[in-house]
């Protein structure tokens, strides 16, 4: 069969809309037909195969092409104050898109299968699967879209499906509170994104990415200044802050762990929170240097702060949640320092091993009968070997140990920050990156030792623990195999050699004017004619060189730090050379700061929530004393006045009113004749009116 672009578009559309069908059917008939969750699951298997075919065809046949398929949805014509606006809907297929679609469908499929076992016996079993279908649909929409409008629509759709799934067990108060918190905190970020979209649309009269990029590369900027472009970049980034749980809006993600664990794996680790990073990847060409610097700072903060928090948490899912924020911070920081390809690479690898970790924790929690506190676990290694091994592999990947995918991608990000440091003299990002790498290895192995090693601390529950069933173990195995490095690069020490980065994912052409870019991103005009290396056209040769030089020092440093972190965890928790409690006592303020999550919730409570309440108190006081005083004073005045007007009313006004009423009654009697209630007399009037109009508008 001849492979054409339209075939790929068709496959992509089927992949997009099948989960919607699954959602609708399962939602409508799920209550009656008990086996309907198999329908939803088979749809996921189908779309996984479709997306695999799609990725294969795209990457082999159309490696360097971007396929855009769009149609005009609404033609608004001539809008006042703006020029003509037409709204196009459509999908865009480039290499980033198809790889991302494949990752989303893989994770979504294994989570579906895992949920068959995990949610067994739930009374809203089918409802749960239909929500998962809605989420898959909207996530694929985000990935496939080629314009800001659809992006925003699907952005909100994943928001609502995340809300529904976090609050799935809404009978519990904390659960419904967590769902509301997630939804509201996300709204704060989305307002920024919405403003950014509005600015772009009113400037360029289009929603499509490619057209906006083209306009900007021609030198048309929002508000005509480079500051306008930075503003738009930062506003759009606000949406990513909310969705990717970046500092300072990260507080919703740990609370979102109240939802079912497979949901945490799918939405709050692998896909939805990565949507923010994906969005940054999409709008990368229009991010100016200043905007990128802000993004890098936010990313570094969100990488560092949650990593320190994760060190002291006792709830296994909270540890993973903070680690997710930290890793997302890594990706955002990588975008900020211009390491576009590595950010995307880490996004993909992180999706697999973090989903594996969450599903592993789900397997543990299920086996321990919904016990999430690591202090009550321990020794599970012997009872749950499969879970242990897969969890270990994924943890190694997260810590960045060689031969795992995480090593490749994390190393890439560190190389990017290192090169950024050597080019701009700004070493803070590299330092943060290395520190976080150490902390990551430490807290992950702390979690493993507390959960799986040592002696069981809760004998009663330990006795009943069994290895999870096949449907739950199989996804773990699949995901842990995907966390190994050979899928991505045959040389386990050099991410640049992987096919993913060298052939498929390349930095896009930057549309930002030269003066607003980082120095090393400026186009070198004499190199433009060289076609062989695309990176060198977009990034300066100095950058490529810096990346090259940064490679080996970074590699050894990060691997050493990761091993040190693991060693430290073993010293503290396995061999107990140092008693962790005593250490905590010595470092009491630091420990408390970390244990209480840097008091973010308290700070927000004290400032925003208490501020709102305080403001309402002040308003209340104002109302009670001042407004009421005025009201009471005026009331007595009014009473005297009213005594006078009462008389006036009775005599003069009532006279008028009665007369008016009488007149209206007369008029009513007249017009009542037309309201016969008979269809035909109404029709008569219609005919006469038509004739009159005919002669007026002749």
């Amino acid at each position: 069969m001849h492979i054409t672009e339209s075939l790929l578009v068709k496959i992509a559309l089927v992949t997009l809309f099948l989960p919607l069908i699954g959602f609708i059917v399962t939602l409508l008939f799920g209550k009656r037909i008990k086996w309907l969750y198999w329908f939803e699951n088979s749809i996921l298997i189908i779309i996984f195969s479709l997306s695999a075919v799609l990725a294969y065809l795209k990457l082999t046949n159309f490696t360097d092409q971007t396929i855009i398929s769009e149609f005009q949805w609404i033609n608004l014509g001539n809008v006042p104050f703006l020029k003509t606006i037409t709204i196009e809907l459509g999908i865009m297929l480039d290499n980033v898109t198809v790889i991302m679609v494949l990752a989303v469908t893989i994770v979504s499929m294994v989570v579906h299968i895992f949920s068959i076992g995990y949610m067994k016996g739930d009374k809203r079993y089918n409802r749960y699967f239909s929500y998962l279908g809605l989420f898959t649909f909207s996530m694929l929409g985000i990935v496939l879209t080629h314009n800001l409008l659809m992006m925003y629509i699907f952005w909100e759709l994943v928001g609502i499906s995340s809300y529904l799934l976090i609050g799935f067990w809404y009978e519990k108060k904390t659960v419904s509170d967590a769902a509301k918190k997630a939804f509201l905190v996300n709204r704060i970020g989305d307002i920024g994104m919405f403003l950014g979209i509005l600015i772009l649309v009113t400037t360029f009269n289009t929603f499509s990415f490619d057209k906006i990029f083209y306009q900007i590369s021609l030198g048309n900027l929002p508000f005509g200044t480079e500051f306008g472009l930075t503003l738009v970049g930062v506003l759009l980034f606000c949406g990513a802050i909310g969705k990717s749980a970046q500092f300072p809006l990260h507080v919703w993600l740990p609370d979102a762990m109240e939802g079912p664990t497979p949901v945490s794996a799918l939405i709050h680790a692998a896909t939805m929170v990565a949507a923010g990073v994906y969005f940054l990847i999409r709008i990368f060409p229009i991010l100016s240097g200043d905007a990128l610097l802000i993004i890098a700072i936010i990313g570094a903060l969100s990488a560092f702060i949650p990593a320190t928090i994760a060190v002291t948490q006792n709830d296994i899912k909270k540890v993973l949640a903070y680690s997710t924020i930290s890793q997302l911070g890594y990706m955002v920081m990588a975008i900020g320092v211009g390491a576009y390809t590595f950010a995307f690479f880490h996004l993909i690898t992180h999706a697999f091993f973090k989903a594996c970790l969450f599903l592993g924790s789900g397997s543990v929690i299920n086996a321990m009968h919904h016990e999430q506190d690591m202090r009550n676990m321990g020794g599970l290694r012997k009872k749950m070997p499969i879970t242990y091994v897969t969890f270990l592999i994924a943890s190694l990947a997260l810590s960045g140990i060689p031969l795992t995918s995480g090593f490749l991608s994390k190393d890439g990000i560190l190389v990017g920050t290192f090169a950024f440091g050597s080019l701009t003299g700004n070493w803070w990002f590299a330092a943060t990156g290395f520190l976080v790498a150490f902390l990551t290895a430490f807290y992950m192995f702390r979690a493993i030792i507390l959960t799986f090693h040592g002696k069981p601390r809760d004998k009663k529950k330990y006795e009943k623990v069994k290895e999870s069933s096949f449907v739950m173990a199989m996804p773990l195995v699949v995901l842990s195999i995907l966390s190994l490095s050979f899928w991505y690069s045959l040389n386990p020490f050099n991410p640049e050699e992987s096919k993913l980065l060298s052939n498929w994912v390349k930095p896009p052409e930057i549309s930002v004017p030269q003066s607003a870019r980082y120095d090393f991103m400026k186009t070198e005009t004499e190199k433009v004619n060289e076609v062989n290396l695309k990176e060198e056209i977009i990034y300066s040769s100095a950058y490529t060189e810096a990346i090259h030089h940064a490679h080996y020092p970074t590699l050894f440093t990060s691997a050493t730090l990761a091993f040190l972190g693991i060693l430290f965890a073993f010293i503290l928790y396995q061999w107990k050379f140092i008693d962790p409690d005593k250490l905590a006592n010595k470092l009491k303020p630091v420990y408390l700061l970390s244990f209480n999550k840097w008091y973010f919730d308290e700070i927000y409570y004290a400032t925003f929530v208490a501020g709102t309440i305080g403001l309402s108190r002040v308003i209340n006081f104002f109302d009670n004393k001042i407004v009421d005083g005025i009201v009471n004073g005026s009331a007595s005045v009014t009473r005297y006045l009213s005594a006078f007007t009462g008389k006036f009313d009775n005599i003069v006004v009532d006279g008028f009113v009665n007369m008016t009423a009488y007149l209206s009654g007369l008029l009513g009697l007249f017009f009542r004749r037309f309201q016969t209630g008979k269809v035909q007399s109404y029709l008569m009037f219609v005919i006469f009116s038509i004739i009159i109009l005919l002669y007026i508008f002749k």
């Binding site: 309201q675 016969t676 209630g677 008979k678 269809v679 035909q680 029709l683 008569m684 005919i687």
Partner: protein, 103 residues
């Protein structure tokens, strides 16, 4: 004598249309109203087919006429059901006496 053209058909159709309107607004019996509606639909059909013949639209006009006939059949069936129901409730089908909406 002018050769028969588009205008002749249009005149016939406008006469039929007016007669249909007349039936709809004067007759008391609901079934007579229905017949008037059928006349109106037929006059529209004549226009469609005539324009399809004399204009440059291919067969689309005829196809539309076909759809109108089908819709008329559906409409007649539903209308008859409504008329039967009204007859059961009021024991007559005089449109002018069915004015309970007035109160």
């Amino acid at each position: 004598m002018i050769h028969i053209g588009l205008n002749h058909y249009l005149i016939v159709s406008s006469l039929l249309f007016s007669l249909g309107i007349f039936a709809v607004i004067t007759r008391k019996n609901a079934i007579m109203v229905l017949m008037g509606i059928e006349l109106i639909l037929n006059s529209a059909n004549i226009n469609f087919v005539a324009f399809a013949r004399y204009g440059n639209f291919g067969l689309t006009g005829q196809l539309t006429a076909l759809f109108v006939i089908i819709l008329a059949a559906a409409e007649a069936a539903i209308a008859m059901a409504i008329v039967l129901n009204i007859y059961k409730m009021f024991t007559n089908i005089n449109v002018d006496e069915i004015d309970t909406l007035k109160d």
